[in-house]
C-alpha cells in the first residue's frame, strides 16, 4: 500500500503517531468525456499503491473484457463503478474516491463532463477545495473547459490545477503547452481564482503525476501528486465571525441543555458572548461539552455541544453567532440557483428550502437573469430548466439566517426540494439580501412622511423583464443601484423606468449622474418613461425584445 515508509515495519507506533497529523484535501476533477479523467484518477490510486492485489486481478480481467486499451490495464475501470456506466463507457454520476499519502488523505469527486450533467459537477464541487481541470493537449481549451471553470468558480473553489493531458501525443511540445496555459489564464482572469497551476501530464504514461517526467525538462514545477500534497487551501473560516447553526437540542434531563451543531466559522470559548440570530437574545458560553471531555476552544469544522449561562429559548433552526457580527436574517435572499431537475422552476410555486439551520417553505419570486455557462453572458429568462444557472429572488415564509456564500459556504448555501416529489431540484448560493436594513429604514420612513424612501434598483424592481414601475410611488424617494444591475447595464442592457409624473425625474437623473449612465426621456399616452442605459455599450446579440418595448 501507499505508506511504504520503512517506519511501518520498524516502528509501527511511531508510524501511527506520524499519521495522526495528516490533513484532508477534497478535490474535484473535471474534463470532457475523452480527456482521460478516470484514467488520471485510476493512475493516482495506482501510483499511490491504493490498489490491492485482488482488485488488480479483477482489473486485469476487466481490462481484457471491456477495456479500451487493447487488453492493457485500463485504469479508468477502477472507477467506473456502476454496470450501466461500464457498458456505455462513460461515468454518469458523481463518484467519490480515496487515496492517501504520508502527508494527506484525499477525497476525489469524479464527475462527468457532459453538458447535461452540470448538476453533477456542481454537486461534486460543493465540498471541494481544489479543481483539477483536464485539457486535451491536442485540442486546447474547449467550451467545456470554460464551462467547468465557471461552475467551479461559482461554487467557490479558489485553486485550479490546469492539467494539460496527453502531452505524449504532441511530443511534449513546450510551446503548445505554454500557449494553452496563456489562453487559460486570460480566460480565467475574471473568475477570481486565487491560484492557477498548469501541469504538462500524460495520465496514461504517468508523466508528471507522481514523479517529474524526463520528457518535460523545460517544466520546472512539481508533479501533480506533490502539488496536491502541499497546496495550501486552508480557508479563513477560523478568522470569520463565529457561527453555529443549532442542529439539535440535547436535553437528557432537567439539569442539562446542550446546543449541538457544527461550527460553521470562527472559534468559540467558554465565557464568549453569543447572540441568537432570530431573537437577538444574548448569553455566554458556559461549557463546550464533548465525549472526550470539555474543550477550551472549538474551531470551524468541529461538531460540538455548547451549554449557555442563561436559560434562553433556542431550538433547531436558530443560529448562534458573535453579537457584533450577526449574519443576514432575512425572508428575501437573492441567490444564484443551479437548477437540477427535469421539471423546470415554477416561479411563485412553494418549495422547501433547506439551509444549514433547517427547512423553511419558500418560493422563487423572480429570475433576474440566467447565465449562459458557455459564454458567461447573461440573458433574460422567466424560469430555469435543467442545468441552467441564474440569479433569483427568494421569498421565505419566515426569516432565516444566512451569510453571503462568498463569505461562508456552509451558512450561504441551500437546496430546494419539491414538496410533492421530494426531489432535490436546485442548489442555491446566497449573494446578499436586498435588504433588511433598508426595509427597516423604509418602515421608519413610512412613519415619517418627510423622509425620502430608498429604492434599490436591483432587478427585483425589474422583475417584469427590464421594466421598473414607479407609477405607484407617492412620496419622495432616492434611487440606488445594486452592483448586479450596474454590471448588467455595463453589458449593454437597458432598463425602462415608468414614472408617475415629471417630479420623479430628478432622482432618476441623480442616479444616472452618480453612475455615469445615460437616459432617454419619453412621453406618450401611458405617461412618462425613462430608458436607462450605459453609453457606448451594446449587447452582443442586439436588443431584440428585451421587454422595454423600444
Amino acid at each position: 500500500m501507499a505508506h511504504q515508509s520503512e517506519l511501518i515495519e520498524k516502528d509501527i507506533l511511531a508510524y501511527l503517531k506520524s499519521q495522526e497529523e495528516k490533513s484532508l484535501l477534497r478535490f474535484i476533477t473535471c474534463g470532457s468525456v475523452d480527456d482521460g479523467k478516470s484514467t488520471l484518477i485510476g493512475r493516482l490510486l495506482w501510483d499511490s499503491k491504493m490498489v490491492f492485489e485482488d482488485q488488480l486481478a479483477a482489473l486485469e480481467a476487466d481490462s481484457k473484457k471491456v477495456g479500451t486499451q487493447g487488453g492493457a490495464i485500463d485504469y479508468a475501470l477502477l472507477l467506473d463503478g456502476l454496470q450501466a456506466e461500464r457498458e456505455q463507457g462513460i461515468t454518469i454520476d458523481v463518484a467519490y474516491r480515496f487515496f492517501s499519502t504520508d502527508r494527506r488523505k484525499f477525497i476525489v469527486a469524479d464527475t462527468p463532463g457532459h453538458e447535461q450533467y452540470t448538476r453533477n459537477m456542481v454537486t461534486g464541487a460543493s465540498t471541494a477545495k481544489v479543481a483539477v481541470i483536464l485539457v486535451d493537449a491536442r485540442k486546447g481549451l474547449l467550451t467545456q473547459t470554460r464551462r467547468h471553470s465557471f461552475l467551479v468558480s461559482l461554487v467557490g473553489i479558489k485553486h485550479i490545477v490546469l492539467a494539460i493531458n496527453k502531452m505524449d501525443l504532441i511530443g511534449y511540445d513546450e510551446e503548445k503547452f505554454r500557449a494553452i496555459e496563456a489562453d487559460y489564464r486570460e480566460f480565467a482572469a475574471p473568475l477570481g481564482f486565487t491560484s492557477i497551476t498548469a501541469l504538462p501530464i500524460s495520465a496514461l504514461n504517468g508523466d508528471n503525476i507522481i514523479e517529474k517526467s524526463s520528457e518535460t525538462p523545460w517544466y520546472q514545477g512539481p508533479p501533480l501528486m506533490h502539488f496536491l500534497e502541499t497546496v495550501q487551501v486552508e480557508d479563513d473560516r477560523d478568522r470569520q465571525p463565529f457561527r453555529l447553526p443549532v442542529q439539535w437540542v440535547n436535553r437528557p434531563n432537567l439539569d442539562f441543555r446542550g446546543f449541538c451543531g457544527t461550527v460553521a466559522s470562527g472559534t468559540v470559548r467558554p465565557g464568549d458572548e453569543i447572540r441568537v440570530a432570530s431573537s437577538g437574545q444574548i448569553s455566554k458560553v458556559a461549557r463546550i461539552v464533548t465525549f472526550n471531555g470539555d474543550l477550551d476552544e472549538a474551531v470551524a469544522g468541529q461538531a460540538v455541544t455548547l451549554t449557555l449561562e442563561d436559560e434562553i429559548d433556542i431550538s433547531r433552526g436558530d443560529m448562534l453567532t458573535r453579537p457584533e457580527a450577526p449574519p443576514l436574517y432575512t425572508r428575501h435572499p437573492e441567490a444564484h440557483l443551479v437548477w437540477m431537475h427535469d421539471e423546470p422552476l415554477q416561479p411563485g410555486q412553494l418549495y422547501l428550502v433547506k439551509t444549514a439551520t433547517g427547512v423553511t417553505p419558500g418560493r422563487v419570486t423572480a429570475v433576474q437573469y440566467a447565465v449562459d455557462v458557455n459564454t458567461l453572458e447573461q440573458k433574460q429568462v422567466s424560469t430555469l430548466g435543467l442545468n441552467e444557472i441564474g440569479l433569483a429572488r427568494i421569498e421565505l415564509d419566515r426569516p432565516v439566517s444566512f451569510d453571503p456564500y462568498g463569505a461562508n459556504r456552509d451558512t450561504g448555501s441551500f437546496i430546494l426540494i419539491d414538496r410533492f416529489t421530494n426531489a432535490t431540484v436546485a442548489a442555491g448560493m446566497v449573494l446578499n439580501a436586498p435588504d433588511e436594513s433598508q426595509r427597516a429604514h423604509l418602515s421608519a420612513g413610512e412613519s415619517n412622511p418627510w423622509a425620502p424612501r430608498h429604492i434599490t434598483l436591483d432587478a427585483v424592481a425589474a422583475t417584469n423583464l427590464n421594466v421598473v414601475d414607479l407609477t405607484e410611488e407617492k412620496g419622495l424617494f432616492i434611487l440606488e443601484l445594486a452592483q448586479s444591475i450596474h454590471d448588467y447595464l455595463g453589458k449593454g442592457n437597458r432598463i425602462l423606468i415608468r414614472l408617475r409624473d415629471l417630479s420623479q425625474l430628478e432622482p432618476v437623473a441623480q442616479l444616472a449622474y452618480e453612475h455615469e449612465l445615460a437616459f432617454e426621456f419619453d412621453r406618450n399616452g401611458d405617461g412618462v418613461s425613462i430608458l436607462l442605459f450605459k453609453r457606448g455599450s451594446t449587447p452582443l446579440k442586439g436588443y431584440g425584445d428585451d421587454g422595454t418595448g423600444i
Binding site: M1, V122, Q247, D410, N422
Partner: protein, 301 residues
C-alpha cells in the same frame, strides 16, 4: 495561529453532523449494528454525537443465527455499555425452511437471512431511517452512493435516480413507507477506521486479534469451527492455527487469515504490509462484477 483539524477529526465531525441530522429530521431512526469494526466506530460516533445522553435510537442486529459466538457476546456488552436498546431480528421463515449457508449456497442464504431479514425488521418496526456502516472505499458501486440513500417502499435502491447531495445539506424528505439508508462512514477508508479505533481505544470483537483457533481449509479459505453445526467434508480436518479475521460475518462464510497480530498496532501494521483488500475474506463478493450493485438494488445494505 490555529492548528488545522486533522483528517480523522474532520471525518469524525462530518459523521457526527450526519448522525445528528438524522435524529433531528426523522421520526423513527435505527442503527444497524453488525458487530464488526465499522459498526464499532459508527456506534462510538453516535455516542459522541449525543453525549452526555445515550443515542436516542435503538440498535438493530439482523441475526442470521450463524454469527460467531464471540460476536453475540460482544453485541450484548456494547448495548449495555452504550445504554441503548438492542433489537435482534431473525428471519423465522428462513429458520423454519432450514436455510443455511451449507445447504442453500451463499447467495440464496444471504438473500434470505440477511436481505429478507433486514426488510422484515425495517417493516416490522416501521423505521424511516437506518444507519449503516458501509464505506465508499469498500466496493465500486458504493463509491457513487449518497450518504443519505433513498429507498422505495419496497426497499429498492435506484442508482440512476439518486438525489444530488451538496455541501452538508441532506434531503431527508420521504413519503410514508419510504425510507433512507444513512451511511455516516461513507468517506472513511479501512485505514482511517483502524487508526481511529487505535486513537480512541474503541472496543472491538476479540476475533480481530490473533489467537489459536480451530479451523478447516475449504475452497481456499480458512473457516473457523465455531460450533458443532459445521460438518466436515471428506478429507477435511480441524487444525489449530494462529489466525484472526480481517472482516466479520457469518462464520461459515468468513475466511480467517493466518496471523500473529494480537495487538491493534500489529493489526494495522499487518494491514499496511499486506496487499489483499478486506472484502476478499467474504464469499459474498466473489460472484461476477456488479454483484454488489445488484444486491444493493434489491435491498441489501
Amino acid at each position: 495561529m490555529k492548528k488545522n483539524l486533522t483528517h480523522l477529526q474532520q471525518l469524525e465531525a462530518e459523521s457526527i453532523h450526519i448522525i445528528r441530522e438524522v435524529v433531528a429530521e426523522f421520526d423513527n431512526p435505527v442503527m444497524l449494528y453488525s458487530i464488526g469494526k465499522d459498526s464499532a466506530v459508527m456506534l462510538h460516533l453516535a455516542r459522541k454525537a449525543f453525549y452526555p445522553a445515550p443515542p436516542p435510537f435503538p440498535l438493530l442486529h439482523v441475526d442470521t443465527t450463524w454469527k460467531f459466538r464471540d460476536m453475540i457476546e460482544f453485541r450484548g456488552r456494547m448495548a449495555k455499555e452504550s445504554g441503548m436498546e438492542l433489537l435482534v431480528h431473525v428471519n423465522e421463515d428462513g429458520v423454519k425452511k432450514g436455510v443455511s449457508p451449507f445447504t442453500h449456497g451463499s447467495a440464496l442464504y444471504t438473500d434470505v437471512m440477511k436481505t429478507e431479514g433486514l426488510k422484515q425488521a425495517l417493516d416490522k418496526y416501521k423505521f424511516d431511517a437506518a444507519f449503516g456502516g458501509a464505506r465508499r472505499d469498500e466496493e465500486k458501486s458504493r463509491a457513487k452512493e449518497r450518504i443519505f440513500s433513498f429507498r422505495s417502499a419496497n426497499h429498492r435502491w435506484d442508482p440512476k435516480n439518486q438525489r444530488p447531495e451538496l455541501w452538508s445539506l441532506y434531503n431527508t424528505r420521504i413519503k410514508p413507507g419510504e425510507s433512507i439508508r444513512v451511511f455516516p462512514l461513507s468517506n472513511w477508508t479501512e485505514l482511517d477506521i483502524w487508526q481511529y479505533i487505535h486513537l480512541e481505544e474503541i472496543p472491538i470483537v476479540p476475533l480481530y486479534f490473533s489467537a489459536v483457533r480451530p479451523v478447516v481449509e475449504r475452497d481456499g479459505m480458512l473457516i473457523m469451527v465455531d460450533d458443532d453445526r459445521l460438518e466436515l467434508k471428506p478429507g477435511e480436518k480441524v487444525e489449530y492455527k494462529s489466525v484472526r479475521f480481517r472482516t466479520l460475518g457469518c462464520y461459515p462464510l468468513t475466511g480467517a487469515v493466518e496471523s500473529e497480530a494480537d495487538t491493534l498496532p500489529d493489526i494495522i501494521q499487518e494491514m499496511l504490509l499486506t496487499r489483499t483488500s478486506e472484502r476478499q475474506g467474504r464469499l459474498i463478493d466473489h460472484d461476477q462484477a456488479g454483484s454488489m450493485e445488484k444486491k444493493k438494488q434489491e435491498g441489501y445494505f
